[in-house]
């Protein structure tokens, strides 16, 4: 059975670390970084990349539009 794999790319410099994406992720993929970006925010990143299904939930709730989402069907 084909498995759906996903990935996100966070524009870390524009991320304001609000964590709305983190709580919206059904797979708990997203964590907050241990270091801050140029604006001083702890930005979002894929803490558990293997669990991402590319559902886009994080992207569509992000108030700053900093998340781009990718998805493939693995053969």
């Amino acid at each position: 059975m084909a498995k759906v794999r996903g990935a996100i790319v966070v524009d870390t410099e524009q991320c304001k670390g609000c964590q709305v994406c983190k709580v919206s992720c059904p797979q708990q993929v997203i964590g907050m970084s241990g270091t801050v970006n140029g604006k001083g925010y702890y930005y979002a990143y894929m803490e558990h990349p293997e669990a991402c299904t590319g559902c886009s939930n994080c992207g569509i709730v992000c108030p700053d539009g900093v998340i781009t989402v990718y998805r493939v069907k693995e053969a």
């Binding site: 590319g54 108030p63 989402v69």
Partner: protein, 260 residues
Amino acid sequence: MDIKDIIRPENRVYKKSDLLYDTTFNFCPGCGHGTIVRLIAEVVQEMGIEHEVIGISPIGCSVLLYDFFRFDVINASHGRAAAAATALKRVMPDRYIFSYQGDGDIAAIGTSETIHTCNRGENITIFFINNAIYGMTGGQMAPTTLTGMKTSTTPGGRLTQESGFPLHFTEMLASLDGTYYATRQAVHTPAAVRKAKKAIRLSLENQKLERGTSVVEFVSNCNSGWRMEPVASNQWMEEHMFPVFPLGDIKCEGKLIQRS
């Protein structure tokens, strides 16, 4: 499969709309304004109307709205966006005109213009962002501030005998014969965002029907004004705002929706 193999242009399923400039929004972290602005850009892009749309930004937090959109925008004076929208639509009936207004802008200073615009049934879209507080000026009471809610001008909580009741402005607008569509949405969860986006699209498509005004209210957070973390503010919004301002359609196709 390596992450690098997933992150390829052909696999992209979501990205920020091309109709937004690549600048950082000037909103606080986690503010619903950003999500709504993003959704409007997405809908305009999907409808392919970026050459026919003119947006009107207000006074308040979204005053800089025009820094974000890659389509024509004007800035109206405080509360008067509906009047400016009326004129733009009357002189250019084939264009899509929307205003984007906060609770103070639309439901306090701009009450008269908004009511009369809806009452004339101007074929425009009004986006109304209700976060129950004045964000830009530092967290003062808004017409929609909840009873008992603390703001910088209601330090002991809003007292109805002093300051009246939270104003249900969208219901007021919906009661007018010129209002064709009125709905209340939120953008704090993926499911809410999906619904809100459909409402935005419908409200813009309605302009072609020439049946009247479309109003989309967004119950939104103001974590700075409410003095909360963004995620906590969304939870507070669900628990306290939604019972007073319930989500859902209020008027569809010119008919009020009966709610139990």
